[in-house]
Symmetry: C3
Subunit: 264 residues, 3 copies
């Protein structure tokens, strides 16, 4: 499927309930991708807003109790209306509030996908992992098994991103080797990646295929940006938007480094 | 009037109660223009803060009930002290909360100006319009009549921006044809435009003239930025600040594309 | 001490309770410096989060009552665990809420350092000063005496930044002449500077020396960025991250313009 063409043609509305650190950056990333962002967090409007959306992103990066309630309400309405929900469990494992909130959302909302770093996803799956603030230091040992288990349990696509990204739908596991170390010099590139996943799923039939394409596309955009701005994080940040805006499906097909491990 | 010179000389303080998506970007735009931004939203301080300001921006981009109360309190105090108030009804029409809040503010606060996209302004005026999140899809048919009516009713200047901007004070209507499609690839350029309008009104006698100049100036800055960075939204975003910072009144006079329809 | 090397080696976690205007920018600055940022404000998690941090930044830039409570709770826990706390009293003097909050925090939390503009620091020390929103217009007359008094009273390092930065630990006063006027064309450079101070103190034994190095380093980064982008605030903003990322201890030693007034 030509995902980027499809996103640019359909312009899906991506409703974000997200943290104030990256609200601007993820909105801009959404626009560069060709989708439409809307950021709305108030319990008084999230249910109505999500009805008009083609995907809902729940990102717990700067969480408080009020926001958890809004996420649960928006998630329930999204489920009723068939709007796919993507969870970004930012900082799960760093505090009890975040661990509990991520698990509460995963339990109460039917998720289409989860995108976190390997530590966050491990925590969500019930394993131990090391996290400093929102930075993964160490994850569960066999991350491929962990995400497969979690995907099976929640019947959704699970993405654990890092130097190599891993994706599973509970049956298959994919490894995506695109990306660049400069992505870790800019805050919120994980959150941006979640937005890319949500925008792909918003127009997709096959969510596993969509998530794999999303991670490859975002990784390739990172490679393109780094080619313009290696060792300069400020410049890289700007070039990342340029690269996403300019990226084509043909480039993704040509440059993706994806290995799919099919279930025997 | 040489508005940009005047703003840079007087450095008006622009108090924003605004959304967390564009708080940084509008603060930077205010600085580039030569004015001083302050972002303060707590009901405990907005009345005191606005007393020291030369304009107040009320932007409902990420709204909740607490913020509406703060906006009403700040607006009332601004009215008492003669501080001009500019409303940006972001997403009016997208949810009942936003539609109601925009109307409640317009009813209870004496506004100097309103700046929204054509759909938001149409909704505020009581017409139907199509909006996806915060993106105008379709507005009331005769936007010039709509803004004239609304301006007359509220005794303020109404700006509906888009490919062509329309401004009215209830008697005249102006069309401003400056701008560039790249402005729609960066989130918050509408909110930035509202800040430019507020900064102009902060130093102006004639608010209609000030708003027209503001829209022309911001549109020209967009054209200048696009000349440096067409098809590159990340670069365009940065060049937009550069362009606003460098813009002169002489350039605005030379490059503005404004048509004023005087009342017969 | 080779502070930048040390920060890049130890990667201290800097927990920020900060304003939504600069949350993204200070997180990115932290990363460029080589430290790890985490932004967390909820009373339900700040105490747990700060236990894992090597420094805590309390920045009152967009304050409300809820946030003050979270700051006091996080500060108390940081004190118990020996995590150094750095206060940025943004806008103290602009409203009673901010003045009171800054003083309440200074009274109840044992601070390692304070970083504000001269007006904010003067207000915090109990003097009169002129402030427009968050912009210092005039400070207490003898800023060196003021910060020395305040440093002595609170037993912490006090930094009053401006065209010349002043630092005192109650015994010595340092003047740091690095920096560039372009720093005032971008919002949040003061907040970024506070983050640099906190990151230095996180790895330091001698907090006065660390603060002086931090101000020199950030000022030099501003000079480097301006060399790439003078008169272009958008470009300067991006180059500032590049400059901080590339800065070395050797450059700071070679380019710092610091005068230390030792107590006779």
């Amino acid at each position: 499927m030509r995902y980027l063409d499809e996103i640019r043609k359909k312009k899906p509305l991506i409703h974000h309930i997200t943290n104030y650190v990256v609200a601007n950056e993820t909105a801009n990333l959404t626009l560069c991708l060709g989708a439409l962002p809307v950021m709305a967090h108030a319990i008084d409007e999230v249910e109505e807003m999500v009805e008009h959306a083609q995907a809902l992103v729940l990102n717990i990066g700067t969480l408080d109790r009020t926001q958890i309630d809004a996420m649960l309400a928006a998630g329930a309405r999204a489920n009723e209306r068939g709007v796919p929900v993507v969870l970004d469990p930012v900082g799960a494992g760093a505090t009890q509030l975040r661990t509990d909130a991520a698990r509460e959302i995963a339990k109460n909302v039917r998720l289409a996908a989860i995108r976190g770093n390997a530590a966050e996803v491990s925590i969500l799956a019930g394993y131990r992992a090391d996290i400093a603030g929102v930075e993964a230091l160490g994850a569960a040992e066999n991350i491929e098994r962990v995400i497969k288990e979690l995907a099976l349990k929640l019947d959704c696509v699970v993405c654990a991103t890092g130097p190599i990204d891993h994706v599973s739908d509970g049956r298959h596991v994919a490894r995506v080797a695109n990306g660049h170390p400069m992505l870790s010099t800019v805050t919120g590139t994980g959150c941006m990646c979640t937005t890319v996943v949500a925008s792909h799923i918003a127009v997709a039939q096959d969510r596993f295929d969509a998530a794999v394409h999303a991670l490859a596309a975002f990784g390739i955009a990172g490679e393109h940006a780094a080619a313009e701005a290696d060792r300069k994080p400020g410049t890289f940040h700007q070039e990342l938007y340029n690269a996403v805006f300019a990226l084509t499906d043909d480039e993704v097909d040509a440059e993706k480094r994806v290995e799919i491990l099919r279930e025997e």
